[in-house]
């Protein structure tokens, strides 16, 4: 970005400056010998035009809304519309979560995000022995279409966008959502939202896998195909680095493994005959925002550039809409501390600001009490207000990609990109992501990083305020922590057995038989799942039908 003449002159000045610096350092040494990020990027004392000498403005940055989208996926970004403020919520029964959703919408939240309980995520009905103690705990309990009807009662699905954190059972929940919307009078082609549907990261980071990788990939491809024809505004997958990061990966590994997952999905879809120019528009991403402010901003900017290059160069995509990396961000749950919990408000604010400066499309801000339990209404409100303060008061949303051109940000963006490509090459050399997961390579990398980070905290190389420095003697007791009513499980089971008596059980049996045949014959299972859902087959019954055909995955434990 600078001409040779200037760089030559500048190098001389820099050399003189460094000579003076040496004598100063003898008198006033720096705090540390090296300053490294957790991704082992050495942060320099000062970044200058020399660091950007190989940057080509148009190839590497481009204008907002243009390839390679480093500066953002839209031309106006937040001048047009703020990011979607989307707080992940769900607990207890559908009725209770419906109330929380209405509260959040009334507080100015602009999109919904559904948390499901673990039995729902694992394909067990609430009366299954393995569901005992887990019903309605970490999210809302869903057994059948009836629960989704109640969950969105009074919320017009044609007007809101809804994100559902659901993976192995995504086709079922998508079906329940679509059928509910139809019953409300909406066209499914108008529905906007996202299903997470990213099973590969479940094997390496989040754990809610059911089927082995191959059939899981098949179901995901089925969903891509179905939605590109019938639900074109729906994001068919949210390829997630968030959980990889939370499981212990650093920023570079987060991007690298997410993109390796993304490559595997695109390859599988292309192999089954789908056009990446079409389904590529419906891919979305999900990243974490952690504490290192500059590294995180650079990470988000690098992410857009890398994905655009992958789609263009590797998959020969020409449709610009299918080159754009659109992503949701959540602040880092694992950075929250149980000690001095109010400090978390500040951490969340900084992380959220990094996500906004990095150009996120939607954002969830964590509540300060989440290292202790589910958030209360009060703490959720503070979290949402944090986003609103950034949006309406800070001014950072008034210009597009305000940190572009910063020597430090651009240099870090480049460095993250280089390191991510190296990881992607490594995974390619292992035979691709599915293979790398099967051998345990990815799990091992993430675990080693998690362990190293914990050791760094133990020996105070990494300071966590309130945990290994600046501790106080008295334990902070929060006034209230949300308790899930223990009667939820009983009520949910009672409603389920009532449903089983009242529904047309012949229709249920037929629909499950059809689904089984479709799965055995390698047909697209999505229409059959939708059909089963619409006659009130339960989530557990549908999943069991698929378990019969596809089998279940057991992990090899990697330590």
């Amino acid at each position: 970005m600078y001409d040779k003449e200037f760089l030559k002159e500048f190098s001389q000045k820099l050399k003189a400056w460094e000579e003076q610096l040496q004598s100063e350092l003898k008198k006033f040494p720096e705090r540390q010998e090296r300053f490294d990020t957790r991704s082992a990027i050495e942060v320099k004392r000062v970044y200058t035009p020399i660091d950007l000498q190989n940057v080509d403005y148009f190839d590497d940055l481009g204008l907002p809304g243009e390839y390679p989208f480093t500066r953002g996926v839209q031309r106006t970004m937040y001048r047009g519309r703020f990011w979607t403020m989307r707080q992940y919520a769900g607990f207890g029964t559908a009725e209770e979560t419906n109330k929380r959703f209405k509260y959040l919408l009334q507080q100015g939240q602009t999109g919904l995000s559904v948390a499901f309980d673990l039995p729902t995520q694992m394909g067990y009905d609430s009366d299954h022995p393995l569901a005992q103690g887990e019903v309605g705990r970490v999210g809302v309990a869903v057994d059948s279409l009836r629960d989704i009807e109640v969950l969105f009662d009074g919320i017009p699905l044609k007007d809101v966008s809804t994100s559902m954190t659901i993976n192995s059972t995504a086709a079922i929940l998508l079906g329940m959502y679509a059928v509910t919307a139809q019953k409300q009078g909406a066209q499914i082609s108008d529905l906007r939202g996202t299903i997470q549907n990213d099973v590969l990261k479940e094997y390496i980071a989040r754990g809610t896998y059911i089927f082995p990788p191959q059939p899981s990939m098949k179901i995901i491809t089925d969903i891509f195909e179905f939605c590109s024809k019938n639900m074109p505004k729906w994001n068919t997958i949210s390829i997630s680095g968030y959980h990889i990061r939370e499981a212990g990966a650093n920023a570079v590994q987060e991007l690298a493994f997410t993109f390796c997952d993304g490559i595997a999905y695109v390859e599988a879809a292309v192999k089954s005959g789908l056009d990446p120019n079409v389904f590529g528009k419906q891919l979305s991403f999900f990243f974490a925002a952690h504490n290192n402010f500059l590294e995180e901003i650079a990470k988000f900017r690098a992410a857009r550039r890398i994905w655009a290059k992958i789609m263009k160069e590797r998959f020969k995509v020409t449709n610009p809409e299918a080159l754009k990396l659109r992503f949701h961000t959540q602040t880092g749950g694992s950075t929250l501390t149980a000690q001095q919990p109010l400090n978390n408000i500040v951490r969340v604010a900084l992380q959220a600001l990094a996500a906004v400066l990095g150009g996120t499309q939607s954002l969830h801000t964590n509540s300060f009490d989440e290292a202790l339990g589910l958030p209360t209404e009060e703490s959720v409100q503070v979290a949402l207000r944090t986003q609103q303060i950034i949006a309406y008061e800070s001014g950072v949303a008034d210009t597009v990609d305000p940190l572009a051109g910063s020597f430090a940000i651009e240099a870090l963006t480049n460095e993250i990109e280089d390191k991510v490509w190296k990881y992607i090459e490594k995974v390619d050399s292992l035979g691709g992501m599915v293979r790398a997961i099967e051998t345990g390579y990815v799990q091992k990398e993430i675990h080693n990083s998690a362990y190293e980070q914990q050791l760094a905290i133990e020996n105070k190389e990494q300071i966590v305020v309130g945990v290994n420095a600046f501790q106080t003697d008295q334990e902070t007791q929060l006034k209230s922590i949300l308790k899930v009513d223990p009667s939820v499980e009983e009520r949910q089971i009672a409603a389920l057995s009532k449903l089983r008596k009242e529904r047309d059980n012949n229709a249920v049996r037929e629909s499950l038989k059809d689904l089984k045949q479709a799965a055995e014959n390698g047909k697209n299972i999505v229409p059959y799942v939708f059909n089963a859902v619409s006659v009130y087959a339960t989530l557990g019954e549908i999943t069991d039908t698929l378990r019969d055909v596809f089998g279940e995955y057991t992990e090899s434990t990697i330590l």
Binding site: G207, G248, L336, A338, G373, H447, Q454
Partner: protein, 138 residues
């Protein structure tokens, strides 16, 4: 001196095993023999593994909020199998209000978020030595 065997287990449906693996790794580095069950073990499976592997200590990692039910179930089954002399510790997202209940049902220690590995290792050594002292050594 023999090497103590520790079982680290993830009961319930929760898939968050970063903490369990890091603690298992630290205990192994501290010289213990560690068996990690992997995800989604029923209380029954955990107790059976404890029996088969003849462990000296059981650590349960729970982040889903189901810690009271799951810990109670494991301890009940241990009593039934006559291995309730094996001490149990619990780690995870445990609301402070629930800690007394866990201790009352027989859990020896509860480690919440932010607990240093060195502290866990130290406490584990203490628990094991208490056990050795009370049974006269083995």
């Amino acid at each position: 001196m023999r090497i103590f065997r520790i079982l680290i287990a993830k009961p319930g449906l929760d898939g968050h095993d970063r903490g369990a693996k890091v603690v298992a790794h630290a205990l192994r580095d501290a010289g213990f023999e560690v068996i990690y069950t992997g995800l989604r073990q029923t209380p029954d499976q955990i107790v059976r593994t404890a029996l088969q592997e003849d462990v000296d200590l059981i650590g349960l990692s729970i982040l889903s909020g189901a810690h009271l039910q799951l810990s109670r179930k494991v301890i009940e089954l241990m009593k039934k199998e006559g291995i309730d002399h094996i001490p149990v510790f619990v780690g995870g997202i445990i609301p402070p209000d629930d800690v007394p209940q866990l201790l009352q049902m027989g859990v020896k220690r509860v480690f919440g978020p932010g607990t240093a590995l060195s502290k866990i290792v130290e406490e584990v050594k203490t628990i094991l030595h208490e056990g050795v002292a009370s049974t006269g050594g083995s």
